[in-house]
Homo-oligomer: 315 residues x 4
């Protein structure tokens, strides 16, 4: 049976029809405005209607950034939208005449990797999505860890360093201030200011200006052998590995799945991450080493995971 | 139906008959030697025989310090004993003629608190046992988190401080180097060396010598108002809260259950722990505040939990 | 004999006539533009001419933000101006027909406090100027520590926390990211976002908006008993004390002189600073406790110190 | 003119005649007991008498571990001996009939390097003696920095890591807990426990037992290419460089002189130290890079420096 998955972003929604093997059969998009949450609902209804014109659909899964209640019915708090304690499931169910499930977007993406992607052969995995921030999802014993109040899985806000870097969340030393695309760019720009000689390629890519450097520039320069870019990716990988070691002490997952744009750096990122994880792993001589692999589903993971959760939850 | 729970320590075993409400009906003990693992099995067999003389017993749960495989059959690695990849379940089942389940001791104790103790009304809890070290157990959605390889739940070895205090495990900055009875004693002794004036009561209790100070001395002196002792317990509580905040970002449990001898300090410990947890909690304005409560089952928790797990797992 | 002291800022210069007891007899100012370094020289010449119309002047001391060479002749690098390896002393001497001495502005201010202010009775002091950043000056054995290349005394860029807060200098964990007006404002705004209830007075002062909070708001609210404001100043004081303890291990000064606008907080700042310094002081039982006192010369310290250095150096 | 230098250790004294070029002309030793401070004085008198039999001596310099008052007359506190506020200078002057100067032993050794060793061409240097602990001496503008109360120069007890490794001094995170022979041995043993494969040579040198590893073993294994030993020395060098960067922000010395047994590792230690110093150096694009060189005087530095200080101070 098919389900529709919808990924609600800050300025657009992406929707797709997904079969029960996780294959994305068709997609559509709508631009939206974060100032008009009701227009987002209209866009969802409209997109689902478009997809149902061609496919029989049994349920709808909706992924959104924020906290979703344990019943997967309400958006308790949305990062980029005005929803507060909002009964999104019931509102959409009413308008669509279909069963609806709501889930946090990082959880949905992680669920997709668990079911159909890099984690499909394991029961215990942690997904780490290295984007602007550091998102994630935790699957233990084949079940998504959502938290008693729906506020779990926020790996990026575990504190790695007391009195560490200031985080946008208001706290200090959060993992994402070290292991994210933003951290990569900020650290690289700072290093360029004091050490431009080791980053000729990188500076060329950025038109000669440190402040124009982007994450993809760093990856591209690193591939071309630029020493500073290689070092910056390795630093990011080291911080990833360091946090993973803490997670392994606590959860002992089989696999870490690394998603997000920075994954394009491949082993330049994953090599140092694995080395640090091994080095800092509690009791490493008495246990298997966790795998660290790249995500395989890319940006569609949110749609695929939301659709699959709709099926799984409603079964 | 009754089950027997057995808690295997370094120098003795404690066994008890537990009913399905978690009540401990009878107990017995045997002294053992860590150098003779086979003698431990003899002691287990002997203790079970004694208890079966008076009670009908359907299953046996065994708790031991170390890693236990996901099938709860083998001791992969024991902290204080010579067992390595040892099929303890099958060995005992053969000798006892009863079904047997093996579990890590901290997990067993945490399970008891979850089923019959401080966590009996929630589905998501983390137990933190502040003893010589910092042990723990994680229950998510009513299930014990054991790790893919049985190495999970080692909360005390999550790293809280990069390049932090040296831990007996060989790593640096593990939570237990800040939040444990050993840490309390070490820090208190160091503080006494430089600041004896603020700890008259404490020094009296220790016969005037900083090196004779114990954990119970600190709690007793704090109760009597000794300023340094109060500060030391508050520091320990602060470190507890700091680690809990990281756990809440990841797992969002309803409740933290604090066990171990230091719990005797009550709110002198829990107050600072709660304050720090609240202060460092990610998105605290958008979520409920986790509870922090004392364990209620004391030293019997290992026996009770092991017995109950035997029943639950074998059902 | 009188000397003129000149404090060169980013957008203005302040000049004054100072007698040999450190008394400021007259002052004048000129607006300047950081884009036109030569216009700054014109302004200096003009201001000195004005002052010489009324006073007999024997020498001129110039204070500027940046590195000044060991001979106090060249501005090696200026923080806000375009001077690089610039022979400011010789240029001005030529135009003024007077002896000239150039000094770093924080050093000049520290020297004034050492000679005529809070440090006038000691031979070993460290000045810490808590302004937007954290500046300072070190006087050892009655002599200013300028560094072999003129780059010393940058107390604000000693690293207090590995992998700590990102500093504008490109490094991490610099003292000034914890102990400065900017840090105070940033931390306070972040705390307000998650804990507005404890800061009613502070929010009122800022018109209800966390992002409008300033340093003086915090001090004012703390004086009115606002709990969050009090805590924020205490945190800043704690970080001051922590860095002082490191300095005392190295330099063992008699006195720390605290300057800058935050000093208005008085003992709400100095109390926690002293407590932390004492707590973290190496071998505190075997040594006197350093004094921590407020600067007494205010914003004129740069002029007074530059003028006095001109006299002292040229003697 | 010749002077005698005396280095008072915990269980022996070493004495020597030094000419005004810093050449050691003759030496002698006496075994002593830390329990009998008066016997130490007898040993000093006896050793000086022996040396005066062959050389004309004008003054005596005495180096001892501990705090020495600003007048270089009293031992305020001795680390290994019972002296407290003890007028050692006057006692010895009376018994010897010669002028006497007392100095902290690390200061004496640093002074020797400054006058006749690796720092003889500079005016601003910091000596770091990497022995069991981390000692040091600071020379600024050609003068030894002793501290207002004689408690300065204790570089090893600057805090590098908040809540860092426990130090014997009772505090946390002191530099010497990361950069000392003890730290090297402790870290190496811990690493061996979890990663023996990378340290075959090292384990062989230690007879197969991690707990028998010594500092010289690490250096020797590193020279033979043992990967773990190389990494351990590099880690130590990194911590040295990290602390040096903090010192450079404050003092901007020309040169760091590295003494102590670990110096035998040469560039395996100094290479990472230099790289880290450069990486963490404040404003490195605007200043010369400090030199990092090995000490040249070895274990005699204390004698040579004490003798020279006697001459210099009494002149």
């Amino acid at each position: 049976m098919h389900a529709v998955g919808i990924d609600i972003g800050g300025t657009k929604i992406a929707a797709g029809v997904v079969d029960d093997a996780g294959t994305l059969l068709a997609t559509t998009r709508r631009d939206t405005s974060p100032e008009e949450p009701h227009a987002i609902e209209d866009a969802v209804v409209d997109a689902v209607a478009e997809l149902r014109a061609s496919f029989e659909v049994s349920a709808v899964g909706v992924a959104a950034a924020g906290f979703v209640d344990p019943g997967r019915a309400k958006v308790l708090f949305a990062a980029n939208l005005a929803w507060r304690d909002y009964p999104l499931r019931d509102v959409l169910r009413e308008r669509l005449g279909l069963d609806v499930v709501v889930e946090n977007d990082a959880n949905a993406a992680g669920w997709a990797e668990f079911r159909f992607g890099a984690g499909r052969d394991v029961q215990d995995m942690v997904m780490l999505t290295v984007g602007t921030g550091l998102g994630g999802a935790v699957v233990i014993g084949g079940r998504l860890v959502r938290g008693a109040a729906g506020a779990g899985g926020e790996v990026g806000h575990m504190r790695l360093v007391p009195a560490g870097r200031a985080c946008g969340c208001g706290h200090d030393g959060c993992w994402e201030t070290y292991a994210s695309g933003s951290a990569l760019v900020r650290e690289t720009r700072a290093a360029l200011a004091t050490d431009p000689e080791r980053a000729r390629t990188l500076l060329d890519l950025a038109g000669g200006k440190a402040k124009h450097v982007t994450g993809p520039h760093v990856t591209q320069a690193a591939r071309a052998g630029d020493p500073l870019a290689v070092e910056m990716l390795a630093d990011l990988g080291t911080w990833l590995g360091s946090g993973m070691a803490a997670l392994s002490a606590l959860l002992d997952p089989t696999t870490y799945v690394i998603g997000g744009g920075v994954g394009a750096a491949g082993d330049m990122l994953l090599g140092p991450a694995r080395a640090t994880l091994e080095e800092q792993l509690f009791a490493r001589a008495q246990r298997p080493l966790p795998q660290v692999v790249l995500a395989t589903l890319g940006n569609d993971a949110g749609i695929v995971g939301a659709a699959d959760l709709a099926r799984v939850v409603l079964d």
